[in-house]
């Protein structure tokens, strides 16, 4: 099982994502300028500040050569996980519904938050239980989710009191209609090891992703 992690100029949680992936699969570094996906079985679009978040978070990155391949891969049913800036990029690319707006208080916030699993009918959450709480850090300035999403496509919500960014209906993570593309603002790759993550709950999403049969 090979999972690719894309790097753009300004991406910074790519190393973390590869470390997390390495716990469940073979990580493969993908480069924004290279449309070859190198035979990966799944793709992580990591967090950070691709192109400095200039203009609009994710707006410039979504046009890079690798994204055409990612879009084709996703349309063919391959699993794609967008984290934070990766979520923003997937929204900009039209692979996920909605958009991310500035946090209600306009400040960057780095905080461990509790998420509640809404559905286990996605590969990513197949290792969880409905209602289960995951403790995962979130860190962003532009994470207020806005969009029309059927409730079946809402995968994660902030637990009561944890929605610091003002997201609509406490939405923290969504999937596309087919359920193979997921985006979330919190950082599961920063919660794969109790030593540095404060919890290992985020690992569940990567385990779920790695278990997907190759499309």
């Amino acid at each position: 099982m090979k999972l690719g992690v894309i790097t753009w100029p300004g991406t910074c949680d790519d190393v973390d994502a590869r470390l997390a992936v390495a716990k469940v699969a073979e990580p493969v570094a993908l480069w924004h300028g290279d449309s070859d996906l190198h035979g990966v079985d799944g793709i992580v679009v990591p967090g950070g500040f691709s192109y400095g978040d200039y203009l609009r978070a994710g707006a410039i990155a979504r046009f890079s050569p690798v994204m055409e391949s990612v879009i084709a891969f996703a349309r063919a049913g391959g699993p794609v996980l967008g984290i934070c800036n990766g979520f923003q990029i997937l929204c900009e690319a039209g692979l996920l519904p909605g958009a991310l707006l500035p946090n209600a208080k306009l400040r960057f916030v780095c905080r461990q938050v509790d998420l509640e699993v809404q559905t286990t009918a996605t590969p990513f959450t197949s290792t969880c239980e409905v209602g289960q709480r995951l403790s995962i850090p979130a860190k962003h300035t532009t994470g207020c989710f806005f969009g029309d999403v059927p409730s079946e496509q809402v995968v994660l919500r902030y637990a009561p009191g944890h929605n610091f960014n003002g997201s609509q209906d406490d939405i923290a993570g969504v999937v596309n209609e087919q359920g193979n593309v997921m985006g979330l603002m919190p950082h599961p790759e920063h919660a794969v090891d109790v030593l540095t993550g404060g919890s290992a709950d985020g690992l569940k999403l990567f385990e779920g992703m790695a278990r997907v049969p190759v499309a």
């Binding site: 203009l55 410039i60 909605g98 958009a99 209600a104 208080k105 306009l106 969009g147 003002g166």
Partner: protein, 75 residues
């Protein structure tokens, strides 16, 4: 040709920046202010004016959450 693109949050979309400015102004002694919205301004020289709309739709604005208005600026 110099062009100017005004990009603003779509009506009904949360505009926390606008809200923050609207709150801050009275505190600084500026009364009688309402309906504040904060958006983005992009100014550029273009050879082909006809491309501007496509640029906006593709890159400069996100049509889901933003409206845009193109102005040409006479130098």
């Amino acid at each position: 040709m110099r062009a100017r693109v005004l990009i603003r949050p779509k009506a009904g979309i949360l505009d926390p920046q606008g809200v923050a400015v609207e709150r801050a102004l009275p505190a600084l002694g500026f009364g009688g202010v309402a309906n504040v919205h904060v958006g983005r301004l992009v100014e550029l020289d273009v050879e082909d004016e006809g491309q501007l709309d496509a640029m906006c739709r593709k890159l400069l604005a996100n049509p889901l959450i933003e409206d845009y208005e193109i102005q040409t600026v006479t130098a």
